[in-house]
Symmetry: C2
């Protein structure tokens, strides 16, 4: 489930986890930005509604992207695992300039798409420059290590989060969504405590992290991204904690990023970017 | 509302904020530790139930401390502001070796006791070596800057927290309680963003910070203390944020402390203490 190899001289596409409940009306800053990246009026958006059990999720996003001015927007009904090998569907996916995974249940994504040709195709397309966004469950699924489910609460406790292999577009981040709205810092910290190599991204609703080919994150939307950098951790009791014990974690770095601010995943440096810069 | 002066050669008493809902039965680690500090069988515990509207709060803690073996435990009914000048009540307070503020509403504490002789007496007694604990609302009130009320949610937003002057035993910390249970990181971060000079202490229920005369914090209880150190903050957008805007805060340090671990408020260093040390 590692990212596909990027050819020399070319760039992978953006990876865009969205915290859920993104605006779909006039203020749809996130979807507009994704659409613009993907070519605007020339964009061909492939929508993957697999996470959702609602029959109209795909159609709804078709309308939204069409109203925002996409060249085309088409939902691809990957419903059963066998659909993941369907040549006609895969061929339509192959023509996309942007791929959008809807919300629902991330375990539907991992169980239905994991290990199929469509998962491989998305990794290959992203490596070749196609942008891939996912909202809510679709966001969780993008990374190599996916939060499948967990418990609420701001502080970490042993065993309150369950990780599963995700799509694997990047392994640099562990993503959580509806972050402010569903009180999820504790489960994200717990996930990072298992192995503090990744950076935690807690995405509020209507907020997205645009992870560029240069591995800088640009925040877009009306909420914030709680970025947890555990790389400087001085001590953790995760190895000796018993089920549901509180976990001691010393030396975590925290950045609250809002629209305009940035984080470099390579240097682990945060910057205010355009935040607070006077306009006009 | 600054701490009273500590005489040369003597130590102030411990300041002990408790996150609320502390165990009062066999496992009452926190209350036992406070009682032991205060002299055990020789302890005279003064209970201040002012925060609570329940008529039996004082009596309940009298029973609890008596059952735990206190020399004496007496609730002092400071109900109206005029009680705060009552010589008989103040005289009884003067004999305490430990003072315990119950839960309820911290604005009852600040509005009823603020600026009265009893508030001054507690500061003077603490400076003279008497230990002062508070649970829930009683914890919030201990510090110079008190969180009066605020909104839930893990990320900071301008205006979601209201600070008020507290009792003023220390100005080194801003305290929040029921922390994990009531999703309060956002309001604590917002409070710290106003002026990042203090350290934030987010106390889970049944969890206490024993702040010693040397300004080291020792954690006791079954939950964790989320310690937020904003001193290294690199950027904040608090000065330009409008009401309810998300707030950008870069470079916050976070420690999750559990029983046995420690934090030095002077050097701002966390240590695992006895956490993870094999027993026997």
């Amino acid at each position: 489930m590692s990212p596909a190899r990027v050819d020399e001289g070319s760039d992978r596409g953006f990876i865009v986890p969205v915290g859920g409940a993104e605006s779909k009306l006039n203020d749809s800053t996130i979807l507009k930005r994704f659409l613009k990246l993907s070519g605007g009026r020339k964009a061909r958006i492939a929508i993957i509604p697999t996470a959702s059990l609602a029959a109209d999720t795909g159609e709804r996003y078709e309308s939204v992207f069409q109203e925002l001015g996409a060249g085309s927007a088409e939902a691809l009904p990957f419903e059963e695992r066998s659909d993941g090998e369907d040549e006609a569907l895969l061929d339509r996916l192959d023509h996309a300039t942007g791929i959008f995974l809807t919300g629902g249940n991330q375990l539907r994504l991992s169980t239905h798409l994991g290990g199929t040709a469509v998962a491989k195709a998305i990794r290959r397309l992203n490596a070749a420059g196609v942008h891939v966004a996912g909202t809510s469950a679709g966001a969780a699924f993008l990374s190599e290590h996916m939060i499948a489910f967990g418990e609420e609460g701001s502080s970490p406790r042993a065993g309150i989060v369950t990780l599963a292999p995700g799509l694997g577009l990047t392994n640099r981040v562990i993503i959580d969504q509806h972050f402010r709205q569903r009180d999820r810092l504790g489960r994200l910290l717990t996930a990072l405590a298992y192995n503090p190599f990744a950076v935690g991204l807690g995405l509020d609703e209507d907020t997205a992290a645009f992870i560029g080919p240069d591995n800088t994150i640009d925040v877009v939307g009306t909420g914030s991204v709680t970025l947890v950098d555990p790389s400087g951790i001085e001590f953790s009791s995760m190895d000796v904690a018993k089920a549901n014990d509180p976990v001691c974690m010393l030396g975590i770095k925290l950045h609250i990023l809002i629209q305009g601010s940035r984080f470099n995943l390579l240097t682990r440096e945060a910057s205010p970017g355009t935040v607070g810069v006077a306009k006009g």
